[in-house]
């Protein structure tokens, strides 16, 4: 561990690469610097590919899998769902900027009127409910398929999450997400940062740990272990469970704040979802 990094540790036993007092942009730049120092041979955009950015043998299998991407059906099904009008004749396109095409780089955003973070999945359900349709389940299924199609139309766009510094609500939501990320939980007593910052690139058994930078660019993900496509908050729940912590509900305030923080950190990287992971 380098000295300059150690000296940035927060008090209270949590290792942080982030300055104790800093805005979102300082946080993002500190992350970029930390990972560039730690993985000098990995080009910036490669971090969007998670552990495949540095695990050569896993990468080869992944590239082979991408010949027949397992998420392709979800994109097709999602497109059909996206284009099918609601009972009232309106459709998803009416709820989003640009008819919902190529908009994922702006999600999550902070809705100042409602005083909360709105993720793409939440926005999809808000659209349904505004048009008299029932909300869909959040982690898998039709909602993940619609999100997969919307992600697909946004490929190549740069993540552009906004945390307006003149919006106390937005800054507070971002800070709450950041705090969640650095808080130890579960009987095994890990913070997200224990694994994805302090231990990025190391192996937990056979799993090489991905970097926080780039973790939000490629959702939803078809995971071989799941055998289906799922949203990023399904992954949050899984990462909480594996440290024997009780996972929170998908789209809980805490997970939305966490997603807001995590997404901001990937600002500037190109979206590359949906993706496949083992």
């Amino acid at each position: 561990m380098k000295k300059s990094i150690l000296s940035l540790c927060l008090i209270g036993g949590i290792f942080s690469v982030l300055p104790a007092v800093a805005g979102p942009e300082e946080d993002r730049l500190a992350m970029v610097k930390y990972y560039s120092d730690r993985f000098p041979d990995v080009p910036m955009q490669e971090f969007a590919n998670g552990l495949y950015a540095f695990d050569q043998s896993a990468r080869e299998q992944w590239i082979e899998m991408e010949d027949f991407p397992p998420y392709e059906i979800a994109i097709d099904d999602g497109q059909v769902l996206f284009e099918t009008p609601f009972a009232n004749g309106k459709s998803y396109a009416d709820c989003f900027d640009n008819g919902g095409i190529g908009v994922k780089q702006d999600y999550p955003y902070f809705d100042a009127d409602a005083g909360e973070v709105v993720t793409l999945e939440l926005a999809i359900n808000q659209c349904r409910e505004a048009n008299g349709e029932k909300a869909l389940a959040y982690m898998i299924g039709e909602l993940a398929e619609i999100a997969a199609y919307m992600a697909y139309t946004s490929r190549g766009n740069e993540f552009a999450i906004q945390v307006p510094l003149d919006s106390p609500g937005a800054v507070a939501a971002y800070s709450a997400g950041k705090q969640f990320f650095y808080t130890r939980r579960g009987q095994l007593n890990f913070a997200c940062s224990s694994c994805h910052i302090q231990s990025a690139g190391l192996n937990l058994r056979a799993d090489r740990l991905s970097t926080t930078l780039g973790q939000a660019t490629h959702w939803p993900v078809y995971r071989s272990k799941w055998g289906e496509i799922g949203t990023i908050q399904k992954r949050f729940a899984e990462c909480n469970s594996q440290v024997w912590a009780k996972p929170l509900e998908a789209q809980s305030v805490e997970y939305r704040n966490l997603e807001y923080f995590l997404s901001y950190i990937s600002n500037g990287l190109e979206l590359n979802g949906p993706a496949s992971r083992r």
């Binding site: 540790c9 209270g12 036993g13 949590i14 290792f15 009987q187 095994l188 007593n189 890990f190 224990s194 694994c195 302090q198 231990s199 190391l202 192996n203 937990l204 058994r205 056979a206 799993d207 740990l209």
Partner: protein
Amino acid sequence: MRPILMLSLLVLLTSSQYALADEVPLNEDAIERGKAIVFARSRGNCLACHAIKGGDLAGNYGPPLLLMKARYPKRADLRSKIWDASVREPTTRMPPYGRHRILTEDEIDLVVDFIHTL
């Protein structure tokens, strides 16, 4: 006479303590049981993070566990590390097996018996 007795008692006492700490021949059975806890995924699962002689598919999240007796001459220091590494190292990534009751006190003793042989 008296002071001499006291002194020899003291010597006896300290030397027996010393023996307890380091020289009691370790019980093979305890070592085997400790090893089983260390390797079991649902118990210690130490291989998730540490390379350990005799174990497969180890991670490298933590350092390889070797030369333990040389590095931890005092059994109590090794036990304390496993009980709660954050006492010495606040930013540790090692789970607090004792403080969070991931293992029982007896299990931790067995784990220490085994780890101390590495």
